[in-house]
Structures are given as C-alpha cells and as structure tokens.
Assembly symmetry: C2
Homo-oligomer: 287 residues x 2
Amino acid sequence: MKQLMDSTVAVVGLGLMGASLGGALRGKCARVVGVARRAEVVETALARGFVDEGTTDLIAGVRDADVVVLSTPVRVIVQQLAEIAPHLRPGCVVMDLGSTKTEIVAAMDRLLPAPIQPLGAHPMCGKETSGIEVAEVTLYQGRTFILTPLARTTPETLALGVALAEAVGAKPLVLEADRQDYLVGTVSHLPYLLACALVATADVTTSKDPAVWKIVAGGFRDTSRVAGSDVQMMLDILMTNQAHVLDAVKVFDQQLQALARMVEAGDENGLRAALTAIRNTRKEMFP
Amino acid sequence: MKQLMDSTVAVVGLGLMGASLGGALRGKCARVVGVARRAEVVETALARGFVDEGTTDLIAGVRDADVVVLSTPVRVIVQQLAEIAPHLRPGCVVMDLGSTKTEIVAAMDRLLPAPIQPLGAHPMCGKETSGIEVAEVTLYQGRTFILTPLARTTPETLALGVALAEAVGAKPLVLEADRQDYLVGTVSHLPYLLACALVATADVTTSKDPAVWKIVAGGFRDTSRVAGSDVQMMLDILMTNQAHVLDAVKVFDQQLQALARMVEAGDENGLRAALTAIRNTRKEMFP
C-alpha cells in the first residue's frame, strides 16, 4: 500500500469539511482530486486552492484514487459507497467524515469488495455554518479526529488514516463505531436538539413580545447557536443515531426535571449543591 | 433633583457589573463611591480606576449619595434596601441591577420612605464569569439596559435612569417588572437550567468514558457555557422568578418531546419542517 505522500486522494463533497480537508492535504499527498455535484463548487475549490483537480463526475473522480474520502451527509455517504464500489482500484482505502459511524461502517463492510480497505472517520470540527464559503485549511488543527476501523481494516490502513489525520494537524483517536455514536449522541446531537427546542420555546412564547428581541442576551445566543446547523446534515445524523439520541434526551429530561422540582419546592440547599457540582464539573470539562 | 453630571453615585457591590458600571460612569457624574464587603475588592476598584472613592461601610458609602445603585445578588439587594433606607438623603434615587425585578420593585416600594425615589434596572450584559477581575468599562456598550419604574417613580427619576444607561453606552428599554421577568425567564434563566442539565447528563453518562474529554466539541461547549455562572447569583434569580422559570421549562419540555417523538417515529418530513423553521427563526433572532 502506498504511503500518504505518494497517494492520490479523492475528496467527495466540497463543503466545509471536504474543502478544508482537501486544502490541508495539498502538499502532504501526491494529488487532491475534488468531487462535487455542482460545477461552481468545483470551480471555487480550484480557485481557492483546496484541490489540485476537480470534477462533477463521481466515478471519474474516484477511479484512480488511492484514498477516497467521502465528505457528504451520512446517508449520501451510504449511497455513494454503493455507487463507487465497482469502480475503485484494488487496495484503495475508502474513508468518510460522517458524524455517525455504526450505519456507515456496516455499509462499508457490506458494499465494498474485499480488495477495498474501509475506515470510518469523524473529525470533531463541525460548525453551525456550512459550505465551501466558510472552508479553511486550518479547520482541523488541534481537533480530535476519530477513526473507527472495521474488523477487516488492516493495520496499514489504520496507519494511513492516522497519517492523514496528523497531516491536517488533527489528533487521531481510535474508537469502536458504536461507542463513538454513544458519545457524540450526548456531547453533540443532544446539544443540537436542546438548542432547537429552546428556539422553538421562545418562538411560541416570548417572541410575541417585540421587546424580547432587545433583551436576547449572550446566554440565549450561545445556548441556541447550534440550532443554526445544516438541517439535512442533522437529519441524517439523527436518523442514523436514533437510539443513542433518544437515550440522551431521556437522561437529560430526568436531570432537567430534578432541577425544576427543586426550583418549585424552593429547595435552596439541594439546588445550591446541585448547581455547584455542575459548575465544577463544567470547569473540569473546559479548564 | 440633580442631573447625573452633578450627582454623587454610590455603587454597592463591586463585582463584574458594579465595578464596570462605576468605571463607565466616572467623568459622567460628580463622583463614584464604591462599596464592597471586602477591603481588597475596594482596593482593586480604586487601583483599576473603577471608583473615585471606596469603602467597606455600606451606610457611610450611601449616606451622601444622590444616586445609589445596588449591584449585588437579588436577595442581598432586598436586604440592603432595608439597611440603607433610614440613612438616605431625601430625593435620593435608588436603583439596582438585579436580574429579576418583581420582588425587588415590591421591596423598594415597601422599604424605601416616600422622599426616596426607586427605579428597578437590569442591564443585559451578564457573563458566565464574575468578579471585579473580569470587570471592564466597555461592558455596557451597546447592551440593552432594562428600566422598570414603579407607580411612584417620577418622570425625572426615570429620565435620570435613562441618562445613566446612556452614559455607560447602553440602550435603555422601559418595561413593566413582571413582563421583564417573564421575558428573561425564557431567554436567560431557561438557557441556564438547560446548560446545567446538559452538563449533568454528560456527568452521569458519557463522562465515565475517558475518550469523551477528547471529543467534547464546540456544540457542547457553547450550549453548556452559562452553566459556569455564579451559583449564588443564579439561586437568587431562580428563587425570585420561580413561576416564570417553571412555565418556561414546561413549554421547553413539550418542544423537546415533540422533536424526540419525530426522531423516534423516523418522521423525517415532520422533523425537516420543524428543524428548518427553527433554523430560520434563529436566523431572524440573530441576523
């Protein structure tokens, strides 16, 4: 198997994550080929130097690649795996950047023929903005880059995934797919639903009062920020991580109701103890 | 009644809000007298130029003031109103910067003798950090500064409150106390409880897995930020705005459960419509 430096890397999907990855990989591999549906996105990727070559033809883009990185919404990734499978070079490594991994690695195992090497990945650098307009080659720097190998993934393939993550400045972290889905269900997908429900709450209550627009402060802005995330991306994530997301919502609801009961009962000592512990926990999380 | 420019302003409580207000008012009034419990805080306020004079003696600090601004936690404000009431000059204007207003304006009305003029206030510039260490004279610039006059508040007193808000660069907004408490219950106190319940959720579930610390991403960080707020301040807020906060939690829970039911049912069309509407609403909120 080729080293990263000698590899042609095809990046499929030139949104925030794909275009940024392509730009960060240029010079660290033989060639970056960008694939996007729309010609103007390919042109932008070329003009901004995110790719060496570009095409709107998926098969033409991946046919000669040593490494293919699918950077599209989760369920588009599953479709594209089926489309590209018959056309890949033997020994080609197929990675993806989807936020949920269980369904994708199962699809990789099912759809990719034996000579093709699969490796799931999920870099933790999403933003609530999306699209090539906000792409930047520094996006991955210092970020955790989760890698979820399959049983059939060889040590050489995993090493190439590690090298790719490090080449873009990220920190590789190898996790089992279901474990990663459980973790991001709580630390990423749950916050999204909370942000959405918070905006919906203001929408059906206080937003009737024009004064509210003048007093919406930093707390609301921060807590609701991720409600601005791309809807199709989030739909794919929620639909492919239902069980973990629903579990997280259940535990969250228990925690919120416990706090609300103390507020209702005027249980100041209980509330002080709980809020102090939570404040300290968050300080440990973000020192 | 004196104009702001000729007034001695006593700021009681030299935390983030009080010290910043004092610093922003210097030069816009005759004199800023800072009052804090701890001598080292008074010294810091003097050293950093937030006040012209300072004292740890509450009564000595407010006795000669034309304007008193209480900048302590909500229920400390209520206690301090009782303590200072017998010692104020006739015609003195007493303001506060507490986040909830109904209990405070009721206490002002009850505790301040007729020659004293009361005016509730709530500038929307809290942070999750607190204390004089993070104070800055620019804190109020461009922020909404809610004013909640009482029935006995004269137009001259309200005008002085408006002048004070504008002097520190803020935008005054006159609201009825209960209406302000309803609005901030949803846009400020609810986000706090959500942030806390989110941290508590991670604490009882995923935080058992050391990998979670490497993948906690921006979404979690932003959504949980206000869980770092000062606990005593938040306790006072929650305990003096129970009904509105609990109503907001109820509506929020309905909204969250509605989203969760669509996730559970795999109702993609319903979810797409809801998440798209929410995304658009948030864009309207923060253009």
